[in-house]
Structure formats: C-alpha cells, structure tokens
Symmetry: C2
C-alpha cells in the first residue's frame, strides 16, 4: 500500500487536519520524487496540482535574462507552493521557477479537489491562507532588501537566511551561486565575503562558507 507513506507524511506534518481531511488527501495525493536540480515548476508552465513539500528543500527563484537565479525563498517540509495553489485554481501559468536543491518528495494534490477542501475544511482553508500570508511576507522582505539595502547588507542577510532556512552554519555555496542568487557579479561577492571574513563573521573554504554569528 503506497498510500501508507502518504498518510504518514500527512499525519506527521499536519496534525491540525481533521481525520476526514487527512483521509481525502491520502486517497487523492500522489507522492513525487525530485532529485537535486529537478524542476518542480517553470515559468510559463501550467499547474495541474497543488504541491506540498514533505521532504527536502525547494528553491523558488525568478530567472534573469542570462540565467541568473534570483533567489526568493525556500520551501520546506510542510510548506505548500502558494503559486501552485493560485495558478492551479485559475489554470494560470506560473511566473517563477521552483527547483529541488535537496533530494525532495512532494505531495501532488489535484486541483479539482481545491474547491471542495476550501469549502468543507476550515483547517485546510487556514492552511492555504497561512501559506499565502507567509509567502507574501517573504516577497515583501525581498523587496525591502533589494530596494533599500546595499550589497553588503544584502549579502549578510542572505547568508543569515541560508543558515536559518537550511538549519546549518555550514553553507555549501560557491561565490558564483551567491552572485547569481543576488543578481550581481562573482567578483563583488568575493570581495564582500573577504571583508566579512576579516571582520570575523564567516570563515571561507573552497565551495564552503561557515557562518560564525
């Protein structure tokens, strides 16, 4: 019974859901595996399911003209992709990219269920609203940083967020990746990182940054 696996994820991550809601989800969700680098969503793609991450980490980003991956936020176990809910409901196409940066498992919930779930289950409705709210806030944060902060502050904030989101101070990042995430150039990042190392905020090695604060 492969749905035992689904049921277990739902039980663990959504303790607040009513038993009958859990049952509906279990019976209708399919579990999908994504390897590192796999895309869950791409610009222009039409969504047919709402996506809920149950394992791993997914990076949401806006793609630049030269392939930059302007970082917005991560989705983690228990998070749903707000855009997959929105686009799914109205059959709209997505405006962003979502890529697995770890081995990831996600529940795919057919969009046809959305109306019924929203109507019948207050806990689901709250979950959806909360998803919108947190993602909206993340976007506002992104706007704040990019609109009002200089590069050094943005970098410091970026590293802090990485450490927090990935729950580790051992960051496996190249200067190039960071530059792409912040939409700047590698040299700028190298220089700023050096300053941060000199002031004791980080330690650097090849492909690796240790966040010390």
């Amino acid at each position: 019974m492969k749905n035992m696996v689904v049921a277990e994820y739902i039980d663990r991550l959504f303790t607040q859901f009513e038993p009958s809601l859990k049952e509906i989800l279990t019976n209708n969700a399919t579990l999908r595996d994504f390897k590192i680098g796999d895309m869950l969503m791409q610009t222009g793609q039409n969504m047919r399911s709402t996506v809920i991450i149950v394992e791993g980490t997914v990076k949401l980003y806006r793609e630049g003209e030269d392939g930059q991956e302007f970082f917005m936020y991560y989705l983690q176990p228990g998070n749903a992709c707000a855009l997959s809910m929105i686009c799914a409901t109205k059959q709209q196409t997505s405006q962003v990219m979502a890529k697995a940066i770890q081995q990831t498992k996600a529940l795919m919930i057919p969009i046809v269920l959305m109306d019924q779930l929203m109507r019948d289950y207050k806990t689901w409705y709250y979950f959806v609203i909360e998803t919108y709210r947190t993602r909206f806030e993340e976007l506002l944060f992104v706007i704040d940083n990019i609109a009002f902060k200089a590069m050094d502050e943005r970098l410091a904030f970026y590293l802090k967020k990485q450490a927090a989101d990935l729950s580790t101070k051992q960051l496996h990042l190249t200067h190039n990746q960071i530059a792409s995430d912040l939409n700047t150039s590698r040299e700028v990042i190298s220089r700023l990182l050096k300053k941060m190392e000199q002031s004791g905020q980080i330690k650097m090695q090849r492909n690796y940054i240790e966040y010390l604060i």
Copy 2:
C-alpha cells in the same frame, strides 16, 4: 437607508456574486470615506476588516527609512486589499502602507464574516483567490523590475503603469514623487525625464508629465 448605497456598489462591481452573498455583504459592510492623503493601512497596524475599494484609488507602498514611499501597486474600485484579507484572517499586523491618492470610498467587511463567506460562497472564494493571485503577480513584477532593470527602464515602466492604472496620459507628478516611488534621487529622475522628453516619449511641464506613447 444608507445601505442602499452599499447595495448599489456591490451590485455594480460584483455582478458575479450570488444574491444572498450580496445581501450578507450589504447588511454587514460599512462604507468609509477617505480623503486624499488619508491612510487606509499602516505598518504595524492590526486589521479588523477586509477592505474593498469601491471608489477612488489607493496607493500601496513600502515605507523607506527616510520617508520614501516605494511604490508597489494601486487598488481601484472592485479590488480588495489582499493584505487586509490575510492579516485580518490571522489577526496579523500589516507590513505595508496604503494611502488614498484620490477621494476614495471603501467597504469594510468585518473579519468575523470571512470564514463563513469562504465556506458558503464559491464566488467569494474565487474573488479572494483572484485577489491574492493578482497582487502576488504585481509583487513579482516589482521584484523583476528592481532586480533586473536599470533606472531608465524602471522609470519608463513606471510612467507606463501610471498612465495605464490611472487611465490617463496626463500625469500629475513631481520629480520628487517619482524619485520617492522608485527610491532614487530627484536629480536622477530629472535627468532621465529630460532624455525621455528629447526622444519624444513624454512632454513635461511643472507638476505634470504627458505620456505620449
């Protein structure tokens, strides 16, 4: 009967709503007036109602440290404030500012109604979802511009959007206002506008820009 006024607005702007939904809204919404410059929402404020604009225009912006009003988008008749829905539902505080830039009237819908409306009325539910979707997209657009575009492109886009949103090519803006909206300095805007005038995209007068394309 002051609710006749409310009923009329709802009838005109929300033809898709079921009669009983319209009735509930009519009986529970209060109409509020805002003069130019009045705030509908402020950072840190706790929302107690969902706000639907029925007349006028409201500017949503992020406030900078020195009082800049970093422009995000306008709300117009028929639009609801996505944040007032989100914050209202969870009693969260708002992260942005909303200011009337025209004489504005708005329906205030008590948050206690939200759960019931979402559950009982599919048209309401769709309206809410659509509100989230369009505002989310607006934010993505803002991020796109600020992350990837240079000042001249941002300015051109800004003027275009003003003309489109306010349905007029006669823009009553000072260089200072524009600079504040784009979080740059007045001199930069003056110079770029001059270039745009020279290339025939706009015509300038004091406190006034005519968008020619």
